[in-house]
């Protein structure tokens, strides 16, 4: 009964996540940039732009220039998250890809790094008056949600171990539309339930920074207005 509910939730959440994010990407893609608004100094070629964006995505370059505290915590959180996500691939692949198995041990530490980073970000949000001023309830809740996911995950691993094989069977079953039972342990249910929530709110929250980053004209345009005429669709009003 609960297993069926979770299976259903995962299907719905996956659909909403994929459909929602695709729709946003489509909108961002389609919306014209009437003018050249790149922030300079900027690369003059498209290759340069790709490198600039790569540095932003991998190193958070601008954030580093801006504020070392946010950078440290933000980077810990995001790269922890990345490794954790990669580690989770083992629940969806059979046999597990070799490079995923390679990252298993690091993945554990990554979980702690992620949690620590999130804690740092939350503390900052509370104690730095400027950041507190700009925070809405959703900004705190987003961090708490991610912390709760991380916490319940770490609980499963270290305090109340669950039947991992059964969990994997459940997810492989989902992929093959062949329903399998979930272990009825509280940490698993909490962990997976919160992940469903995260997936559903992804396309309607500030998590849109993930696609948004790749469509930010001040960063993605090349600085070549004189060399190459920029033709953005003119406003229809004219």
């Amino acid at each position: 009964m609960i297993s069926t509910l979770y299976a259903l939730l995962f299907y719905v959440a996956t659909f909403l996540l994929v459909a929602g994010v695709s729709q946003k990407i489509w909108i961002y893609w389609r919306t014209p940039s009437p003018l050249k608004v790149v922030v300079t100094p900027a690369p003059t070629t498209n290759t340069g732009v790709v490198l600039r964006m790569a540095r932003e995505v991998v190193l958070f370059e601008s954030l580093f220039k801006s504020n070392k505290w946010i950078w440290v915590f933000g980077w810990m959180f995001h790269f922890g998250l990345l490794l954790v996500l990669i580690r989770h691939l083992r629940y969806f692949t059979n046999p597990v890809w070799w490079w995923v198995s390679l990252l298993q041990t690091v993945g554990i530490y990554a979980g702690f790094a992620m949690f620590l980073g999130l804690t740092g970000l939350l503390i900052r949000r509370i104690v730095v008056n400027r950041v507190r001023y700009i925070s809405a309830p959703s900004d705190y809740l987003m961090l708490l949600l991610l912390m709760a996911i991380g916490f319940s995950g770490l609980m499963m691993r270290f305090v109340l171990p669950t039947d991992i094989v059964a969990v994997k069977t459940f997810f492989l079953g989902l992929l093959r539309f062949n329903l399998q039972p979930l272990p009825m342990d509280l940490p698993v249910l909490v962990h997976l339930g919160l992940v469903v929530v995260l997936m559903i709110i992804f396309p309607i929250s500030k998590l849109l920074h993930v696609p948004g980053l790749f469509f930010s004209p001040s960063r993605t345009q090349a600085d070549n207005a004189r060399e190459k005429r920029h033709v953005g669709a003119a406003p229809a009003g004219r």
Partner: protein
């Protein structure tokens, strides 16, 4: 905890730390509002004269329209994660402590309304995500705080997604214009350019007379016939320069500098009375239509005069429009000589001549000045000079170092891409905004005081008409002489040695001592 809070700075911008932050003081600047535009100023630009009855619906509709037609606006509204990285980067926040002058908070004045009407979360859970209805109070806040942003883009440099508050400010002003809430200073000036050709309302006759006077001054000074041609058909180069260059100090000394450089290069050039304004205030109010109208005056002047090249004089926002928008809004310029950049900056032109050894200078002529350089925001963060990224920082410095012996930079976090605004850009250069102008200029002025103290700097050079005017006003407020602000080409003009020129002041060079302002100057010039 304490460590994490360490950047709750409360020291206030000062000589030692020009970018320090004051105590946060909510609503400190809520009363700062520019004068409203008169109805005919608005209608002239295609906007309703006064606040329309159904302003809420109209404003929301315009917001939706912008979100559909401007990627930057749409993406910036969606993408911000409220990380806070930009919160300490705006000179108006540093100067005023009003939290609504923190870039993200400034954006949020509009974002919270956008969320309410255009996003799922804002429609159904407004409290949760900080979405608010559009009310008269919100509109008042928009009018206050979107006129406390000089659209300098400093915040954008530091944002992990490059979110540019200038873009949001422009959109907000555009929305306000569309419901009949225009700003007097900008809208009146745009109208003047449409009628007469420049911000000052200087007509062709007056312009010619002024330029003839200047030619006489130049002849008195050098004994040479140095021309400043107006409306000369068939000239090679059309010079588009801010109209302040025609009459204000120190701008006018810059104009004489351009004339001398053109003279030395043997160039044939002209200014146009039809397009006698480089500045384009259409950008300040975020109106692409009005920006395009002004851009196309320049195109028309170039076609009518039959020139081969367009060169822009020293002007910050003008150069942004020229460099980035002109080609889009008034191009393609296939009738011009494609061997030169279209358009070119006067400093690119001068630096090119210097590099090719075409100009001779007597640097000692500038020994009375110990100078530093104010990177104008819009040149720094919204344009380029030369063909390498960052040329906009190096070329002006190279030119300055070629014409004077004593050059010093201000602290790193206040120059180049991190440059601090003069405080008067983006349509704020009006007396009704004097308080915020002064507060906004304080970080830059403290940086200047620092190099005055440390290196004995006496003068600051700027390459933007707005910056120059603003600094001329601010200098006395911070203990400097009103004339401590210079044009770059003013120093070029002082040092350039023209063939056949008479030299009146050969012998009084030695007794020129650097004029110090206040604090003792111990810099050794190395």
């Amino acid at each position: 905890m304490v460590e994490l809070a360490i950047d709750n700075k409360i020291s206030r911008t000062s000589i030692d730390d020009p970018t320090a932050l004051p105590c946060m003081t909510p609503d400190a600047m809520v009363g700062s509002k520019p004068f409203l535009a008169a109805p005919d100023h608005n209608t002239k630009l295609g906007f309703p004269g006064e606040l329309v009855d159904d302003w809420k619906e109209k404003a929301i509709a315009r917001m939706g329209y912008l979100a559909e037609t401007n990627k930057a606006f749409k993406v910036y509204l969606d993408t911000c994660v409220k990380c806070g990285a930009c919160t300490d980067k705006c000179h108006y926040y540093m100067g005023s402590g009003d939290p609504k002058n923190m870039p993200v908070a400034r954006q949020d004045l509009l974002r919270s309304v956008y969320r309410r009407y255009f996003t799922f979360a804002g429609k159904y859970f407004p409290k949760l995500v900080g979405a608010v209805d559009l009310t008269r109070e919100v509109l008042d806040d928009w009018y206050s705080y979107y006129h406390q942003c000089s659209q300098c883009r400093r915040c954008s440099v530091f944002c992990p997604y490059g979110i540019d508050t200038a873009e949001i400010s422009m959109a907000a002003r555009d929305i306000m214009d569309h419901i009949g809430v225009g700003q007097k200073y900008c809208n009146e000036i745009i109208g003047k350019v449409m009628d007469v050709g420049n911000n000052l309302g200087l007509n062709a006759k007056a312009l010619k007379a002024t330029m003839e006077d200047l030619e006489e001054d130049l002849e008195d000074e050098t004994g040479l016939e140095i021309r400043i041609p107006v409306d000369e058909h068939g000239a090679d180069i059309l010079l588009i320069t801010p109209s302040a260059d025609f009459f204000a100090e120190p701008h006018i000394d810059g104009l004489m500098g351009y004339a001398k450089v053109f003279h030395a290069a043997g160039a044939s050039w002209t200014v146009s009375s039809y397009a006698s304004e480089a500045a384009n205030f259409g950008m300040f109010i975020g109106s692409e239509e009005n920006t395009a109208v002004l851009c196309n005056r320049i195109r028309k002047a170039a076609e009518d005069l039959g020139v081969k090249r367009i060169i822009f004089g020293e002007c910050g926002h003008a150069w942004r429009v020229a460099y980035n928008f002109l080609n889009t809004l008034a191009g393609p310029f296939d009738f011009l000589d494609q061997n030169y950049p279209i358009p070119q900056h006067i400093l690119e032109y001068t630096w090119d001549l210097i590099e090719r050894d075409q100009l001779t200078f007597d640097k000692s002529k500038n020994d009375e000045y110990r100078v530093t350089f104010h990177d104008s925001c819009n040149v720094s963060r919204a344009s380029r000079m030369g063909d390498k990224p960052g040329g906009q920082f190096d070329i002006p410095r190279n030119v300055l170092k070629a014409v004077c012996n004593n050059y010093y930079d201000m602290p790193d976090e206040t120059i180049r891409e991190k440059t601090l605004c003069c405080g008067g850009g983006g349509g704020l250069l009006t007396d009704d905004l004097m308080d915020i102008r002064k507060k906004g200029s304080s970080p830059r002025m403290h940086a200047l005081q620092q190099v005055e103290r440390d290196f004995g700097v006496t003068h600051m050079v700027a390459i933007c008409a707005i910056c120059k005017t603003q600094f001329a006003k601010m200098m006395p407020e911070f203990g400097f002489d009103r004339e401590a602000i210079l044009s770059a080409h003013q120093l070029v003009s002082n040092a350039i040695v023209l063939e056949g020129q008479i030299d009146e002041d050969d012998d009084d060079d030695e007794d020129m001592e650097p004029e110090m302002n206040g604090a003792s100057a111990t810099g050794d010039g190395s």
